[in-house]
């Protein structure tokens, strides 16, 4: 009798304990949120990219750059994603500095780099080779844009200075400041890509050698 009543107590205590345990896990809490964020890590960035497509406001560009900074931290370990974020950050900086003087192709490149990044992060099982291929495509496009920008700048410098408009626009003359900034950013980016690509190649070679 005493034993069975002890058992009852144990059972009821256990049941209570289990109730509490499962009630805690069942509540929406930090871990669940984190899981959500992991399944849609680029959701916030996507919203900003879409809004920039419709309207380029200084606030949107700042949000974009802030979000890129956040994501860079989150993806520190992923070299390829980091490189994509580097390109996006560089484009964002260029838009911030140049605004309406930015090359029109900047925005389509921004969209395509983001689209590739989204692809990569949505399919974690994607092969390394495939990811590198996508990255290479965007890097080439980025290089081409950079060339278009320098060609345009060279053409503008060759033109005679037009007469000042009646009401000059309130846009800062950022082009002289931006050129060295952009060149430096691109040089750093290039060096970064070179070293990472070399590291990836070494890793791949090691894997192939090991499998033989």
């Amino acid at each position: 009798m005493a034993k069975s009543s002890k058992l009852d107590t144990l059972t009821s205590e256990l049941e209570n304990r289990l109730d509490e345990l499962f009630r805690e896990d069942g509540q929406p809490g930090e871990p669940l949120q984190f899981r959500d964020a992991r399944s849609q890590p680029l959701a916030e960035l996507k919203k900003i990219v879409l809004s920039i497509d419709w309207e380029i406001t200084p606030e949107a560009v700042e949000s974009f750059l802030a979000q890129i900074r956040l994501l860079k931290e989150a993806y520190q370990a992923d070299k390829i994603v980091s490189m994509f974020l580097q390109i996006l950050g560089s484009l964002g900086q260029y838009i911030k500095s140049n605004r309406s003087k930015a090359h029109p192709s900047t925005f389509s490149l921004l969209n395509s780099v983001f689209a590739r990044l989204e692809e990569i992060t949505s399919f974690p099982k994607m092969r390394e080779l495939e990811k590198r291929k996508l990255l290479q495509m965007e890097m080439t496009a980025y290089q081409q844009l950079r060339e278009k920008i320098s060609q345009r700048r060279a053409a503008d410098e060759a033109k005679p200075v037009p007469p000042a408009p009646a009401k000059p626009p309130a846009i800062p003359a950022a082009s002289e400041v931006t050129a060295p900034m952009l060149a430096q950013a691109v040089a750093e980016l290039k060096e970064f890509f070179r070293s990472e690509m070399a590291a990836l190649r070494r890793q791949l070679k090691l894997k192939i050698d090991a499998s033989r």
Partner: protein, 136 residues
């Protein structure tokens, strides 16, 4: 009653539209008044549209949409834009009397176009505002 623009004014307007819009990839731009008259039009040489019909319809369209805005309690809409599969069209009021219509492909983002149009409008306002005031 009528209004006039001389060579110098029209040249200046065309310069602005060419350097800000056509040179940045816009296919076609035309500046019209609310009656549907064409002040000037420029294109990138690729396609020729029936601009007189476009101008009449654009003025009518803009007028109709403005009237709708008033009915729903808005002073005006900040965006009037029609998206096609390949070609898109954007309307922007310059003053109470003038409209800037741009036709562009999908190689230009709407956000960028709106930025360039806003800039062009700032330049053009100074040239066109005196006309609007005269003929109110």
């Amino acid at each position: 009653m009528s209004y006039t623009l001389d060579q110098k004014q029209l040249d200046r307007i065309e310069d602005i539209l060419k350097s800000e819009l056509i040179d940045n990839g816009v296919r076609c731009v035309f500046l019209i008044d609310m009656a549907g008259n064409i002040i000037t039009n420029l294109d990138n040489g690729e396609k020729q549209h029936d601009i007189y019909s476009l101008a009449a319809l654009a003025a009518g369209n803009f007028g109709a949409v403005s009237a709708m805005a008033k009915i729903i309690g808005e002073n005006e809409f900040s965006l009037l834009f029609h998206k096609g599969k390949k070609e898109n069209i954007h309307f922007n009021k310059i003053s109470s009397e003038f409209l800037l219509i741009t036709i562009f492909g999908n190689d230009i983002s709407l956000g960028f176009l709106r930025m360039k149009v806003a800039e062009s409008v700032e330049h053009l306002k100074g040239l066109l505002e005196p006309l609007s005031r005269e003929h109110l």
